[in-house]
Symmetry: C2
Subunit: 638 residues, 2 copies
């Protein structure tokens, strides 16, 4: 029986994509020049780097945490990606040094974990549910793969292969092995990367084992807890006692194919679903594709914020229930939005359906980059959709997973723009620059020229020899209601060319061809499904992919008491001086007077309104100026 | 220097008030016949009664809690009040038995506390901040006073005087005494009751000491914590670690006269402020009256729910910040609303200003009685203003302070209706029945006849000999916009007679006189101050003193997506068959269709509306029928 080929597309690697984009290039430069070095400094100063010396003693700063390894790993990954687009011998040297230190921490049997070597070595593998051992291993594997791709150096890769081999000797269904899996999914998708770079099927099988074993009976985490000595608790112990269902928390409540609802911790969920998508492709397993589709529908149709943020509550850093979208307390961990991008990108390769790219775009342009300040030095862990003015980005966090996650995503942004197969090139995102790919044996360069997301005009031109017959798929964004397409100045119909939301242009292309896509970008007043009680009677402004918000400093009123009449004209203007250059939205609105409420808290007389002009700015750019209230969802006056 | 007489009025004791009211009498009967016996059963079955045997051992059911004594005490208080209106030899016998058991637990030195005698005797007085010792003592004192008033029996009173004497020997400013006070205020107001019944000034001075000492430097709770052995924590320890300011939590952040903002735990605050009001009257201390007024303004103008609920959050069972009124998560502990009634009642005696009676009424008719089911068997601890359908009254609670608090308030309800002084009788609440008081040496009976709160017509008639010159003060409720007054069928102007919200009728009254007050009771659409972000664009229905809500079972829609047009006619009808007989409100409204939102979470197209009729029922009566969503604040369509 032949393995199904479910890999309909492959990403065009970011090393084949050059970004020269007025929106993204500055952000990528800040990421490279400020954020990545800043994150190294934070790792260094907090002791995360030196922890790999395995010689921490009380009194020497903070005791290493169980997840510190992963912060350093993601930084290495980001730095490695950065080397791939911008070689830098100093950075490469620094990476060598850090990697040498990490490798020095590897035990003779291959084990590599700061906490469970230098702090609690006797507890190795005793708390898979909480202790993050395999999670850290996974991030280190991703880092090693990236480092090898960036430098060709094998040392870190070899180190991590040794660790993976050792892990493989410990876990599995074979007699003598532990039938366990990690409480924080991650290693599953990392092992696929390790497999792809080494060709060693052992790693693919191990990933498959971890994913298949999850949620089987008897339940490993229950057995693990029962085996624990009386009085001893898991690592998080009572800290987690408020969580109703720990199995749902870490998506081990059922075998993965039986899961049809997103549940639990959002980042864990995203990483698991990424692995499921990876394995679907590698193994030709349609049932995993179907499982992903069910989970995707439940997530995107009932549990995703308009910003692409996911995971409504701090309480489990995850999901609550369908159509529940608290605004002020929206947790929306940055890592979860990053994970959402990762997952949708993988789904795109299995099924080039614009719904996946729409979600990827929604997260990228809103809930992901809201996680970093414009100057690249501060971060949001949670990304609320309303603020009373007291919530701000921070330079670092005790649990610092989000900063390096943003950094590695931005450093490899090009990976998310294009995909291809033997006969088609797909454009998922509109970003100025070029992409080089091989189709039908020919090297083809596709150029994009656009001022997206500020306007919706995108121009494609090409560089290759002769003529090539291939399909060019251009995504028609879900937010777009009116579009015009021209090929070589001739208007071309769109509707008859749509294939799962992509405009499919099949022709014999010549290097001189020019394709122009005009995506109309009016200001839209968006509404939530009526079951979303928090947003009834409200509207959110969206223009193209950008979701907007009101910040107090731009408006003569708290955003919470502003009413935007449906009939108000809204104007968008590009302002170079504002927030590093954004399209701002202005219009007339009403606010409620307070002066006639002196000494009154409740009254039957109606509000008195006052006319004001409002200014909305992109949500991703909030909290970069004076502190103040913020709201995405604004009262609407019909 | 003469002591100021600040006691402008005294309550007409509930033993002088007979209630024959179609609204209250059924509730009082349920309280007497069902709730009070049920609460005894709960105390008995949970071990709260037998705990006074001081012989609990592990394995014998739940270990006594530090506050169990107070649950039994409040039950005794409620039962005693019940005896005073409805003699019952069985109940009296039961009380004798329980009291005997309690008294048997008294130690030779006078100490009386279950937990710190039978569980942790070595910890007596070591944790005033958390351990509730003086709090329990206070409730036992209140119970003993009530029992003596009800039966003339001195045993319990003597027991508690011995305890009070012992407490007085331990605490104070004199050398050798602890300069401490309780972390949960209560004993302060109880000692005033003990003083009033015994005439022993020692108890008044002790109360004064506790109130004055609170919040002084050096801070007793800090010293207490510092004196604790290394590694040992206070009783609540890390359970309280999320509370930003424990001094504010228990209102010990400043001396009481310097406190100008309600802060911290709501019940603690109410009990403290009650004591401050009591002491103001007993000591002739105007500065305490001023302090109460400042606190009252801050509470009522910026921190009180429309239902009279107070204490916005579960997190500290207390206050958050001004104009913050979350609806679903409104904590509004029943005890806090009860305390609000207690405090406003006391303030009324110092200053007969209708604003206090308005608050007392608002709480009584809404946020207090929402705390008990119509059948008297189940209770709310928290009283939210919106529900997703999964929040219901319970039969009991681990911390069971609320049920007996409602019971003792209802059992003594008559206390809150009338006040008097030498020359005036004031009517604060409109409740059918009679009140007997002595004015100018004469016994006067005032009869009220009304169908309040369902309509606003109140008729007063009298019984006494001859003619008496006195002032009859009738409160003009704050919610009332139109009123008509007739004396002996003659319309009498109101405006020129208003004295701090009371219609002051000074005349030589004859027994044949009849006074008729007509308070117009249209349905009002109430709005919150614009700074209340949670209620912008919403309205709450109120009719007379009753606040209404929408319950899902009465409406063809989730209440959260209903829009009530401002122009909709709203009709009130009395329905005998509904919720034991209530005025219901009906009208036309709109709800949002969901059918056109299939597979859509966000869209720019507007909502589609559907006409429906809505029915609103009194908030106090919600969750007495089928479970379902509930909302007090409804979207308003302008």
């Amino acid at each position: 029986m032949e393995k199904l080929n479910l890999k309909k597309f492959s990403p065009v690697p970011f090393t084949n994509v050059s970004i020269k984009d007025s929106f993204w290039s500055p952000k990528l430069e800040v990421n490279r020049k400020t954020t990545i070095p800043t994150e190294y400094q934070q790792c260094k100063e907090t002791g995360r780097i030196d922890a790999f010396k395995l010689d921490w003693k009380p009194g020497q700063g903070e005791q290493p945490h169980i997840f510190w390894d992963s912060d350093v790993a993601k930084w290495i990954e980001a730095a490695s990606y950065s080397l791939m687009t911008h070689p830098d011998s100093d950075l490469e040297g620094l990476l060598d040094h850090v990697i040498e230190l990490i490798s020095s921490a590897q035990q003779p049997d291959g084990y590599l974990n700061v906490y469970f070597t230098s702090i609690k070595p006797e507890k190795r593998w005793t708390d898979l549910r909480d202790a993050h051992e395999l999670y850290c291993a996974g991030h280190l594997m991703e880092a090693a793969v990236a480092h090898f791709q960036a430098t060709g150096k094998r040392s870190f890769l070899d180190t991590m292969c040794r660790y993976a081999d050792y892990i493989d000797s410990v876990f599995g269904t074979e007699p003598g092995k532990k039938r366990g899996y990690c409480g924080h999914e991650e290693i599953e998708l990392a092992l696929v990367k390790l497999y792809r770079i080494t060709g060693n099927e052992r790693y693919l099988k191990l990933s498959e084992y971890f994913v298949e074993e999850r949620g089987q009976q008897p339940h490993y985490f229950e057995m693990e807890a029962a085996a624990r000595p009386e009085g001893e608790s898991s690592f998080f112990g009572s800290f987690m006692s408020h969580i109703k269902d720990m199995h749902e928390y870490n998506q081990s409540h059922k075998p993965v194919r039986e899961q049809d609802r997103v549940t639990g911790h959002a980042v864990r969920a995203m990483y698991l679903y990424c692995a499921m998508a990876d394995l679907a492709g590698e193994l030709g397993d349609e049932s995993l594709v179907r499982a992903c589709e069910r989970l995707w529908e439940h997530l995107v149709l009932k549990n995703m914020y308009i910003t692409g943020g996911i995971g409504q509550t701090r309480s489990n850093e995850g999901f609550t229930f369908d159509y529940d979208f608290p605004n002020e307390t929206a947790y929306n961990e940055t890592c979860a939005a990053v994970g959402l991008v990762f997952w949708n990108h993988r789904l795109l390769q299995l099924n080039c359906d614009s719904k996946y790219a729409d979600v990827m775009e929604r997260a990228l342009y809103n809930g992901v980059i809201s996680g970093i300040s414009l100057d690249g030095k501060k971060f949001f862990y949670d990304n609320p959709l309303a603020s009373l003015g007291d919530f701000h980005r921070q330079e670092w966090f005790g649990c610092a997973c989000c900063p390096p996650n943003i950094a590695r995503l931005l450093a490899s942004l090009g990976e998310y723009i294009y995909s291809q197969n033997d006969s088609e090139a797909a454009v998922h995102l509109y970003v100025s620059g070029s992409s080089t790919l091989q189709i039908k044996g020919k090297n083809i360069t596709i150029h994009q020229q656009t001022n997206y997301p500020w306007d919706g005009n995108v121009k494609f031109s090409f560089d290759f020899e002769g003529a090539v017959n291939f399909g060019l798929k251009l995504r028609l964004p879900g937010w777009c209601k009116y579009a015009t397409l021209k090929v070589n100045d001739q208007v071309v119909s769109i509707e008859d060319k749509l294939d799962k939301g992509y405009i499919q242009l099949e022709r014999e292309w010549k290097s001189s061809d020019v394709v122009e896509l005009e995506l109309a970008m009016p200001v839209e007043r968006v509404h939530s499904h009526p079951a979303v009680r928090q947003n009834i009677g409200c509207t959110a402004l969206q223009r193209g992919p950008i979701v907007y918000c009101l910040e107090e400093m731009d408006n003569q009123s708290s955003p919470f008491k502003i009413f935007l009449p449906r009939t108000s004209q809204l104007h968008s203007t590009f302002d170079e001086t504002l927030l590093k250059g954004v399209m701002k939205i202005n219009g007339e609105a009403l606010t409620i007077e307070e002066e006639d409420w002196v000494n009154t808290l409740y009254r039957s007389d109606d509000y008195q309104y006052k006319k004001i002009t409002i200014q909305a700015v992109p949500y991703y750019a909030w909290d970069n100026r004076e502190p103040g209230k913020m709201a995405v969802w604004i009262n609407e006056l019909r």
